[in-house]
C-alpha cells in the first residue's frame, strides 16, 4: 500500500501521469464552467447537455468514418448546442416547464444516440471500438493525445472565463441589469452555453454521460457554502474539482478494478456534503448554532423581563421568586425555565437561595434595557405609524430582542426620551 502510494505520488509511471493530469484538467475546467451554470440555476441543463452530445458524436463518426477526437468534439458541440436550443424553445413556446423540457430533451437525444451507437456497433466497422468511452468514460486509460486535446480546450475555457469574467458575473446574477447597461446579453449567454457544451464534450470522455453532471454541479454547490464572492467561489470549486480528480485517480491506481470516474464523483460529493454541514456561517451546523443562540437569548431575556414585571407591580425588585410563581405568570415550559434560570445564574444576572430566585444589580439593568426597548418601540409604532396602543405589543415582543444600541439611541432621540409608553407604563432609563 505504502509502496503503491509512493509510486503514484512520484509520477514515474507515464500512465499515472496521463490519468492524473487529464482528470485534473477536466475536474478543474468543469468546476469552473459549472459554477456559472449553477449560479444561473441551470445546473440540470448541464446534465441534459451531457446526454445530448451522444447523437452528435455518433453522427460525426458515421459521416467521417474516423475516430478523430476533434471531429467527434465538433459533433458533440453541435448536438449539445441543439439540445439547449430545444430546451429553450419548448419552455418559450409551450406550457411545459423547464423540468419537463430538460427531461424530454435529455432522454430523447440520449435514445437517438444509443440507437445510432448500437447501429454503428452492429455495422462491424472496426474503427468504432472506443466510441463507448463517451458513454462510460475512460479516465483510467487516457492517452497523450487525449491530454493534448483536453489541456488545449481546458486552457481555452480558462482564457474565455478570464476575459469575460465581469460580463459573465453580471449576466449570471442579474440579466435584466446587464440588459439595461447595454451588455450584449444574448451573445454572453451564447458564450456561456458554448463553454458549458465544450466542457461537457471533453469531460464526458473521462467520467461518462451520467456522472458528467456531477463534475459541473457538485463543486459549485459545495463552494457556494463557503463564500458570497464569485472569485473565491470559483477558486474553491476548482480546488474541489482538482482534489477529487487527484484522489479519484489515486484510488483506482491502488485498486485497479475501481473505476476512476465514480470515485471522483464520490469524493466530490463527500467534499460538498462536508461543506454543507461544516462551512462557517452558511453551513448547517453553523446555522443551527446561531438559531440555538438566538432561542437562548430570547428565553433568558423573557425571564429577566418577567422579574421586572413582577417587581414593577409592588415597586420592589428585591423579592425572591419561586419557579411556581414564574411559571404562573408567563407561558414557559418547566424544562425551558430551568434551563434559562441556570444560564442567567451563570451570567450572574440572577442568584438563588434554596428555591427562591433573586435578580442581581446587573440583572436588573439588563431587564430595564429590554423593557425600555419594548416600550420605546411601542411608543414609536403608536406615534409614528399611528397604530392603536392595543396593536403594538406583539410587534414589540419580537423586536425587543433584536434592536441594537445604536437604534436604541436613535429611537430615544426621535421620540425625545418619552416617560411613558402607550399603555401608560413607565419607561425605565438607566439613570433611575
Amino acid at each position: 500500500m505504502l509502496k503503491e502510494t509512493l509510486d503514484f505520488l512520484s509520477f514515474t509511471d507515464p500512465n499515472v501521469r496521463y490519468v492524473v493530469i487529464g482528470s485534473v484538467i477536466l475536474g478543474a475546467s468543469s468546476a469552473l464552467v459549472g459554477s456559472f451554470a449553477f449560479l444561473r440555476k441551470r445546473a440540470l441543463v448541464g446534465d441534459a447537455i451531457a446526454h445530448s452530445v451522444l447523437p452528435g458524436v455518433a453522427a460525426a463518426f458515421m459521416i467521417s468514418g474516423v475516430k478523430d477526437p476533434l471531429i467527434l468534439i465538433v459533433g458533440a458541440l453541435i448536438s449539445g448546442w441543439l439540445s439547449i436550443v430545444m430546451i429553450d424553445g419548448i419552455v418559450r413556446t409551450t406550457k411545459l416547464k423547464s423540468d419537463a423540457a430538460i427531461g424530454i430533451v435529455l432522454s430523447v437525444f440520449f435514445g437517438v444516440g444509443i440507437l445510432l451507437l448500437t447501429h454503428i456497433q452492429q455495422s462491424g466497422n472496426g474503427a468504432q471500438s472506443g466510441l463507448d468511452s463517451f458513454l462510460f468514460g475512460k479516465a483510467a486509460s487516457l492517452t497523450p493525445d487525449d491530454i493534448w486535446v483536453f489541456s488545449s480546450i481546458g486552457s481555452f475555457l480558462v482564457v474565455i472565463i478570464f476575459l469575460f469574467f465581469k460580463a459573465f458575473k453580471i449576466v449570471s446574477f442579474n440579466p435584466d441589469y446587464a440588459q439595461t447597461i447595454g451588455l450584449p446579453v444574448k451573445f454572453i449567454e451564447f458564450l456561456l452555453s458554448t463553454i458549458t457544451v465544450l466542457a461537457v464534450a471533453v469531460g464526458i470522455q473521462a467520467v461518462g454521460v451520467v456522472l458528467m453532471a456531477a463534475l459541473l454541479i457538485t463543486p459549485a454547490s459545495g463552494a457556494r457554502f463557503w463564500t458570497n464572492k464569485l472569485g473565491k467561489m470559483l477558486f474553491i470549486a476548482t480546488t474541489f474539482g482538482v482534489i477529487s480528480a487527484f484522489v479519484g485517480s489515486y484510488v483506482s491506481y491502488i485498486a485497479p478494478n475501481m473505476p476512476t470516474g465514480p470515485w471522483v464523483v464520490m469524493i466530490l460529493s463527500l467534499l460538498t456534503v462536508a461543506s454543507i454541514w461544516f462551512a462557517p456561517k452558511k453551513g448547517m451546523l453553523a446555522r443551527l448554532k446561531t438559531r440555538r443562540e438566538n432561542q437562548n437569548k430570547i428565553l433568558t431575556e423573557n425571564i429577566l423581563k418577567l422579574f421586572y414585571h413582577l417587581g414593577e407591580k409592588k415597586e420592589d425588585f428585591e423579592v425572591g421568586r419561586s419557579q411556581e410563581i414564574l411559571l404562573e405568570n408567563r407561558d414557559f415550559t418547566e424544562v425551558e425555565l430551568k434551563k434559562g434560570l441556570l444560564k442567567l445564574k451563570k451570567k450572574n444576572l440572577l442568584r438563588n437561595k434554596k428555591n427562591l430566585w433573586y435578580i442581581t444589580q446587573s440583572g436588573l439593568s439588563e431587564a430595564k434595557r429590554i423593557i425600555r426597548l419594548h416600550r420605546l418601540w411601542e411608543m414609536y409604532l403608536n406615534q409614528r405609524l399611528k397604530l392603536e396602543p392595543d396593536h403594538v405589543h406583539n410587534d414589540a415582543e419580537a423586536i425587543e430582542h433584536i434592536i441594537t444600541a445604536d437604534i436604541e439611541k436613535q429611537l430615544e432621540k426621535e421620540l425625545a426620551y418619552p416617560e411613558k409608553d402607550p399603555h401608560q407604563s413607565k419607561i425605565p432609563y438607566n439613570d433611575n
Binding site: A43, T93, T94, V112, G113, L115, Q122, P262, T272
Partner: protein
C-alpha cells in the same frame, strides 16, 4: 412471436411509466423522476448481494427504499441546507449512481449487471427468459408477467387514489386545508415511480425509463387540459412509441430501447408542431378579425 413479446413488454412498461409520469409533469417534478431512475441503482445492486439472485421481491424493496431515500435527500439539501433545487437534484442522483457503479465494480463477480445494461437495458433478450412452471408448462417470457403486474399495480394505484392525487397535484394548499395528508401521496407517488423504474430497469435501462416517464405525458399535456384525457393520450403515445420503436430498431439495426425513445421524441415533436401551428393560426385569425373591425 419474438416481436410480439418485445412489443408487449415495451408497451406495458411504457404505459405504466407514462401514467405515473403524467403526475410528475403536472407536479413539475419531471427531473425528480429522472433522479429516482438513476438513484435506484445502488438499491438494485444491494438487493442482488443480499438475495444472491434476481429475485423480484428484494429488488423491489431495495429500489423503493432508494427511491424514497432520493426524495428525502433532495428535500434535505433543498429545505434544510438551503441549496437551490436543481443542484439538490443533481448532486443526489449523481452521488447515488456513482455509489451504484462502485458497488458493481467491488462485487463484480457476485453481481451480474453490466454498465451497458444499466444505461440502456436489454429488451431484446426478453423472449429468452421464459417462465416455465414446475410441471413444464410454458407461460411465456417472465418479463411480460412482471411488467403486466406493474401495469395492474399502477392502474389500481391511480384508480384508488384518483381524487386525492388530483387535488394534491393541482392545489396543494387546498388539499392541506381539506386535511388531506399531502406528504403521504407525495411519497406514495415517488415510491410507485421507483417501483416502475426498477421493473423497467432490466428492459430499458436507467435513462430510457425517463423517456417513458416524461415524453408521452408531456406530448399529451400539450394537446389537452383534461387529466383523464391526458392519462389516456399518454397511454396511447406510450404504446405507439413501443410499437414504432421496435420496427424502427429492426429497420436500422440498433438498440430497441433507444429506438423507442426516439419514436417517443418524434411523437412529441408532432404534438409540439400541431400546437404551435394552431397557435399561429389563432393569432392570424385574431389579427384578421381586429383588422376587419377597424375597417
Amino acid at each position: 412471436m419474438e416481436a410480439f413479446w418485445i412489443i408487449l413488454t415495451g408497451s406495458l412498461i411504457a404505459i405504466s411509466c407514462s401514467l405515473l409520469g403524467a403526475y410528475l409533469i403536472l407536479r413539475k417534478m419531471a427531473m425528480v423522476g429522472d433522479a429516482i431512475s438513476h438513484a435506484v441503482l445502488p438499491g438494485i445492486v444491494l438487493a442482488y448481494l443480499f438475495s444472491a439472485s434476481r429475485e423480484a421481491l428484494p429488488m423491489l424493496i431495495g429500489a423503493a427504499a432508494l427511491g424514497v431515500l432520493t426524495t428525502v435527500l433532495i428535500e434535505l439539501f433543498y429545505q434544510k441546507a438551503k441549496l437551490q433545487v436543481d443542484a439538490s437534484i443533481g448532486i443526489t442522483f449523481t452521488w447515488l449512481f456513482a455509489i451504484g457503479i462502485i458497488l458493481i465494480s467491488v462485487f463484480a463477480n457476485q453481481v451480474d449487471l453490466d454498465q451497458d445494461c444499466v444505461l440502456y437495458g436489454e429488451i431484446a433478450y426478453v423472449p429468452l427468459d421464459l417462465w416455465i412452471t414446475d410441471s413444464g408448462f410454458n407461460l411465456g417470457p417472465r418479463a411480460v408477467w412482471i411488467s403486466a403486474a406493474l401495469l395492474v399495480f399502477v392502474l389500481l394505484f391511480i384508480q384508488r387514489f384518483y381524487k386525492a392525487l388530483f387535488i394534491t397535484t393541482f392545489n396543494e394548499d387546498f388539499a392541506k386545508a381539506l386535511g388531506i395528508n399531502v406528504a403521504f401521496y407525495h411519497y406514495a407517488l415517488m415510491g410507485s415511480v421507483s417501483l416502475s423504474t426498477v421493473v423497467s430497469f432490466e428492459s430499458v435501462g436507467a435513462i430510457l425509463v425517463v423517456a417513458f416517464l416524461v415524453v408521452p405525458p408531456a406530448a399529451a399535456y400539450l394537446l389537452t387540459n383534461d387529466l383523464k384525457k391526458m392519462l389516456l393520450l399518454s397511454a396511447v403515445f406510450a404504446f405507439l412509441s413501443a410499437f414504432g420503436g421496435y420496427y424502427l430498431a429492426a429497420f436500422i439495426n440498433g438498440s430497441i430501447a433507444g429506438a423507442m425513445a426516439s419514436v417517443a421524441g418524434i411523437i412529441f415533436l408532432l404534438a409540439w408542431g400541431v400546437v404551435y401551428l394552431n397557435k399561429q393560426q389563432n393569432q392570424l385569425k385574431r389579427k384578421y378579425k381586429s383588422a376587419s373591425v377597424v375597417h
